[in-house]
Symmetry: C2
Subunit: 709 residues, 2 copies
């Protein structure tokens, strides 16, 4: 673990490349440090100056009168590397490098970055950057950036791989009166990555008191995740107390390509990340707007303790729109009780809508909003209140905002506002900002924020509930032959389906009887031994998608059909052999079922390690699009949850009219495959597809194994 205390809250700082030319990075950062109210010592370093402003300037790092806690390197490559060496020689243990021109520009820059890393290792320096905007720590206080930062302090903490996102957030925070405690930009993450900073955050909690929610929400903008296992562990721990929300682009190939020319980030599979974030309780933002919205929401409001919301609006249209959004976002509209209805009837005009959403009508003055809110806020069935305002001719925009501010302090229940319009409503929004009530120009945005916050809270609750009852791990008895050392004997480099069948059987999976056959007689004798129906398949090392080339014939019911099928499959074998030049065998298998076809697989993700996949298998798997992932290891209650959240569960559980299939054996099969994959690191990828879940067994019918090179 790195100790980053002296980096983020230094007592003394050297600025290598400090400058008197105002537009230079070395001048801006010096100005920022001074004007941020930093109370420690500042040492400008510049061979061509004796004095910068009122500060004495040093010719080189070696000549500094002490070993400062932090060195800021504000000179371009290749000078930056030389400077880092001097920093190391001086014994300085923390450095921020702004300079670009490293990994992000390609091969040449990659070499420079490798050099940077080895200097950092040699001298044991915590380097932030390169290619970053630096950091702000308002608690210290110190602003080590070359950006324009509003120094307002608040409970937010940010880690951003992009300096520009930071610049935009600085501007946005300032306009909205939103404050943060720390803002760290990572740049290329050559040495320090998000996990180091998260660990620092975790170890340096400074709970904020007063009217703010008592949390320190962390916003992450990351283009790549470093050391996935650490990330999962750290975030899972932090979300027990504080919300984390992340914007992580790279879902599409286009973005992945764009990222490479930016911070050189390489993206793993996005679905894996999605599963990790869900497991860790980290809220994922779909857009930059989500990220900005959640910054404000988590900073200013408590997460609602339930999904039930009430809406007060002075307009029917936006109320209707909001009702749609409430459902779409997975929240619910509280159904008011008779008492609430009566109270609302008392204070509202006859034609107002007293069902939720409450329409206080277009002529509502601030007082009417107050009356309705005073009835709704104390209602235990309301977890959050959403207030919508449209600027009608008599609407008291600013007064209404003030009243909501007072109510928020009085009831301490989350309130979210949407004042819809342009410059008329802007004044009200400003007032809401003063009272730290999150407001959104459009009601759907408010509702989305509430939903995300509830998602976070819900995860916390689930974790808290599950923690004590965490079941003892279900241990599968893997056969002796499957120790890693023996694995390569069991499996060829590129096994065919019969070898995979044997392998799966030896690992304790149920596999239908099968054999290699080279004549009709052999096939018939197999059918006599095990009974019809049977299946004929092609079998060849590495052969996938057999069905597409006519390489699977199912439902063979008798000798006549077997003869016919045997003829066809032989033809297919010849075609394949001619096409590929590889040996092709014919496999016969006892047909199992009826049942439900599923897929169970484990894959190695480059960032997060072993990931288990479960979902619908068989012909329509792609159409059903049922991919459910969980990071290994997993216990049986997690396996159960994974199956239950799958789409195919409806077929497995009997709720669509089918019988109830053997779910316990399915969980066991999943755990078994997971343990097999984890205990044999030689397996890069393993998949049972289809596994057929019947009334009394789970059959591993076919599969795929890829060994690590």
């Amino acid at each position: 673990m790195r100790d980053l205390t002296a980096l983020f809250c230094p007592k003394s700082v050297a600025i290598v490349g400090a400058s008197r030319t105002p537009e230079k990075v070395g001048a801006i950062v010096l100005k920022n440090i001074i004007s941020s109210g930093f109370t420690g010592k500042i040492y400008p370093v510049n061979p061509n100056a004796d004095q910068i402003g009122s500060l004495a300037c040093f010719k080189d790092t070696a000549g500094l009168p002490e070993v400062p806690d932090l060195a800021v390197i504000a000179i371009p490559v290749p000078g930056a590397l030389e400077a880092l060496t001097q920093v190391g020689e001086k014994g300085i243990k923390n450095a921020v490098i702004f300079s670009a021109g490293f990994k992000e520009i390609g091969e040449e820059g990659k070499k420079l970055e490798d050099e940077l890393i080895s200097i950092a290792q040699k001298y044991n320096i915590n380097v932030l950057g390169p290619n970053c905007l630096g950091f702000v720590n308002n608690l210290c206080p110190i602003n080590v950036t070359f950006g324009e930062v509003a120094a307002q302090t608040g409970n937010l903490r940010f880690i951003s791989q992009s300096g520009a996102i930071a610049s935009s957030l600085f501007d946005w925070c300032k306009s909205n009166g939103l404050g943060f405690s720390e803002f760290v930009t990572l740049g290329n993450k050559a040495v320090i990555n998000e996990n180091d900073v998260l660990e620092y955050f975790q170890g340096n909690k400074t709970p904020v008191t007063g009217s703010l929610p008592n949390v320190q929400p962390i916003g992450l903008y990351l283009e790549s995740i470093s050391r996935g296992a650490d990330f999962l562990k750290l975030t899972s721990e932090i979300t027990k107390t504080d919300p984390i929300f992340i914007l992580k682009p790279g879902k599409t190939k286009a973005a992945a390509k764009a990222m490479q020319s930016h911070t050189g980030a390489i993206a793993g599979e996005d679905v894996v990340l999605e599963a990790v974030l869900t497991q860790a309780g980290v809220i994922r933002c779909q857009t930059l707007e989500d990220f900005f919205d959640l910054s404000r929401s988590f900073a200013w409001e408590d997460s609602p303790v339930g999904p039930k919301v009430a809406i007060i609006s002075n307009a029917g249209g936006p109320a209707v729109i909001s009702a749609d959004a409430v459902t779409t976002e997975g929240l619910t509209l509280t159904e008011f009780d008779a008492q609430t209805h009566e109270k609302l009837l008392e204070v509202l005009p006859r034609s107002a809508a007293i069902l939720n959403p409450v329409d206080v009508l277009g002529d509502a003055l601030a007082q009417r909003y107050l009356q309705a809110a005073e009835i709704i806020l104390p209602n235990a069935q309301v977890n959050a209140l959403i207030v919508i305002l449209t600027p009608q001719i008599m609407t008291q925009i600013s007064q209404t905002a003030t009243i909501l501010g007072v109510l928020s302090q009085k009831y301490r229940k989350p309130i979210f506002c949407s004042f819809i319009g342009g410059s008329l409503v802007a004044e009200g929004e400003q007032k809401l900002n003063e009272y730290k009530i999150p407001s959104f120009r459009f009601p759907e945005r408010a509702i989305r924020a509430v939903a995300q916050m509830w998602k976070f809270k819900h995860h916390q609750e689930e974790q808290a509930e599950n923690a004590p009852a965490q079941p003892v791990d279900f241990r599968v008895d893997l056969k002796h032959s499957l120790r890693s050392s023996d694995l390569k004997n069991v499996l060829q480099k590129s096994p065919d389906s019969i070898q995979i069948n044997e392998f799966l059987q030896s690992a304790g999976f149920s596999t239908p009887p099968t054999n290699r056959v080279s004549s009709l007689e052999q096939a018939k004798s197999f059918a006599q031994q095990f009974g019809y129906p049977v299946v004929l398949k092609l079998s060849s090392p590495g052969l996938l998608h057999k069905k597409k080339i006519g390489g699977v014939i199912t439902g063979i019911e008798n000798d006549a059909q077997l003869e016919n099928a045997g003829y066809k499959i032989s033809q297919a074998a010849v075609r394949l052999q001619q096409g590929t030049g590889q040996a092709v065998a014919i496999q016969i298998q006892k047909e199992v079922g009826p049942g439900v076809e599923v897929i169970i697989g484990v894959k190695q993700d480059p960032t997060f390690g072993s990931v288990l996949l479960f979902g619908a298998g068989g012909s329509f798997a792609e159409l059903i699009a049922d991919r459910n992932l969980h990071l290994l290891p997993m216990n049986i209650s997690q396996a159960k949850k994974l199956v239950e959240k799958s789409k195919i569960f409806v077929a497995l559980s009997g709720s669509n009219g089918d019988p109830v299939y053997v779910l316990d054996k399915l969980y066991e099969t999943i755990i078994r495959l997971g343990q097999l994959a984890v205990s044999c690191p030689e397996i890069k990828e393993i998949e049972i597809n289809p596994a057929i879940v019947t009334l009394d067994n789970v059959w591993a019918v076919d599969g795929k194994v890829v060994l690590a090179k």
Copy 2:
């Protein structure tokens, strides 16, 4: 067709309920009419005043010196109804009624609204409202609302069922320098509905010249659609020249409930509306934010003629985020040719990214944006340019905006901006507004707008391409017995599956041989006649979801299995009979296949009439969630498109390894069912499920028919 010219552009107007008390509706509307620059005659009507301002006031409508073109009724119920009668008696043909308290408040109000409708019918009055905010016609000009309206004129046209949405838009348009020509609020649509106004818009085109796109975009906020067939026809016609975009809430039950207490709108099935809008080329907004964004985009920019966009950004992070959004929204990033790369290399710094997205780097001044844009805009492979700016320390925000404004005028290629931040970027946005360049605080919003505009353009192109080649309708020869008059003889009120089978067969569908059986012997003899495999099913009037109660046994291959299955199905029959008290028969059917199970159905939508459904059928239909709709009538090329856009098409077309099934027969079957439904209005609902598409035929295996009461 209503002539609304005198309503929306009157030469004279009476205000019934005109008032001197400034906060009264009757005073506000009078003030609005005067200050909007209306040049016609204005007649205040109020029994208690001789003069209002400088205008002579009349005691009653009867006493007006002429028959004005328009009467504005600004008094509450029930007086409003009396006033309408007087308006009718005077011979005034157009009225706006602001008053609330009608259908939207329930049963009592509904009666008043019925009364209003009959008065309007008696005197043949075009009534706008009640419960509306009135209208603005900036071309006349006249502002007949009691809202605060900025009178800026522009090419937008709005129809809104909600007055509050109008108020918000007025405020937003004003803040953003956005102008409209007409804004009509509909309220309860007692007499005039959106179709009447659309028809008026269609007949009153006032093309705007100059730098604006030469279109008159129409924005619709509707909670219900009136006369669906008219709506489809009108919008399909208008979108040939002008964009229409709509916000229509009511997707969820919660919203439908909220709507009823608002404008009393009742929602049909949202999926039907979705299909209608797609057919008509109307762009559907998912959120209010979409609606506001598209207002500005369609008003100020030409729709891009292709999906290829280029991005210029001064920051890598937002560029990466945008690359994701481009793909997610169905656009593509132009791949620049070598020449473009070279040109960019010449003008940009070495570490800039010259692939698309182009990163001009954080230190880019306005000039560098200009240089990059000058290279990219003339590129024929770029259909729209998206410019992203983050406020970094040296960023020239306002100058960059100005440069983009000049470039927009020079190249006349759509430019969309996202300046990300707070108050720093606001100035730039203001400048962009002046140049009428759509800007968005978040890049994903800009990209979404471009995608929606391209969707509109693409629809236009498709329509233009298809129009001349519209194939002659494919006529199915429906059997004589299926004339409407005979239908009730063919079908019982609640037919069982055997009757439905007979009915489908008589309508020309291929049905597998089937029969009612009451003994094992009968079943065996059926199997002998038609061959194994066979299916046994329960058959009872109105019985659906047979499978869920064990009422379907498939794959019966021989006498022994038939015996076993016969025993099971008899037991199920007894259970069902005991449970329901209804007669239950057992049906035997020749099993067809192998093939792909699909569903083909026709349903009557209350708004839009007959809608045909096609999609995946069988056990996994719900999981695949493959509902594709088309309004009837349809031609064979439309049937083809419907099938091609379905998810199950991948299985039908052989691209997943299956053989190619008999698509022509499938199209024919679809057309046949559509024609059957249209020619027999007694059929409320008809469904073939499953239809099994094999290599040479489409088999109607089971179905459902519901007759209108």
